[in-house]
Symmetry: C3
């Protein structure tokens, strides 16, 4: 019942929720690229060729506010979504209560989707801080379970 | 014997050591947040509301030495702990000698915990470089095993 | 047939290709360290001791073009290789068509190796953009499969 395969319904649910947050995370790459092209702000000199092909003036810069905001959101995703996945994988294989596990997956996924909305739309604080905290809570709670079952 | 489940004693040991280093890595997020609040240095303009609520002057900045040091340590963790986990998972499923595997897990975990101590307390070099190297050695050694068993 | 163990030939192939791209990613750490020492550009004041031991003048800096280029390449690897691994793991356990799966692993690995060549040798664009896109396509295609099989 606690194996990492699609025969295990909990693993299948984990695959769904973690699939969603990983796709969300990767979509920040696309958003960064689109904004670099739109605003012609590139990190590398050779990238200016893309702008020139579009007849735009090129400003190689690492300080455009929009692009840097997207990149901070992306890095925050990496810092949170990847630990969630890794801990979640160990947690699923530890044979937890399925209803509790599903609740953690849903809390994490909901919080991280709303975290991105807060970051991108500059929703007043402490909205983003709370969403960050909710996601961290879910991962940490599972991590405590994994460590206490293995030590 | 080489399956990824808590029935496999080596997987259980892997879950313990990797759980510890992932929690260590995530705790850098909390440390960053605490220092941002303590010193009122935020990356985003809207975050200043947190400082204002506490009646502090806000300086949105990306160059506070304490915060940037914690962030460099966090990024270094991501660059090392995540590859350790991913390679370690493949390594455990490749059916290695359990005693050797346990030794690599312990070298990695010990080195990364000391790496953080060296980074945060500014212990003179080459302490941090050696701890970084020890962790990298453990992961690379497992990676060589995985690749040589699969190609 | 869809279990995460070396008895599953597809998992073994996944282990090989993901092992290669993870080793590639970790090697950026070594490349960064070598270039920091060669050019005596360190991020932390205490690291200058390494340069002094080699009788070089120390410039703690975060803006050396060579080092920052390697770091951007490293971060881009983390942003792409880790999601590939996580999604790939879910994908393998979903029991996909082995030939299709192997093709995605090869597209991803080939694109990411060439992406590094393009980044390090400053090959004119859109070479690097295409290699980035090819890798992202492979991961996203697998992610769509995982999510559609689980929701």
């Amino acid at each position: 019942m606690a194996d990492l395969s699609f025969d295990n319904p909990l693993f299948k649910q984990f695959a769904f929720y973690s699939g969603v947050v990983i796709v969300k995370t990767m979509s920040m790459s696309v958003l960064t690229a689109l904004n670099r092209i739109r605003k012609s702000v590139y990190a590398n000199p050779e990238d200016c060729a893309i702008g020139k092909a579009m007849d735009k003036e090129c400003k190689p810069t690492l300080s455009d506010p929009t692009v840097e905001r997207i990149r901070r959101c992306h890095l925050n995703d990496l810092e949170n979504v990847i630990p969630f996945f890794l801990i979640g994988l160990l947690y699923v294989s530890s044979g937890p209560d399925p209803a509790t596990a599903l609740m953690y997956f849903r809390i994490f996924t909901g919080c991280r989707l709303l975290h991105t909305v807060c970051y991108m739309c500059q929703v007043p604080q402490p909205s983003r801080a709370l969403m960050f905290g909710g996601g961290l809570f879910a991962t940490m709670r599972m991590a405590v379970d994994v460590i206490s079952k293995t030590c």
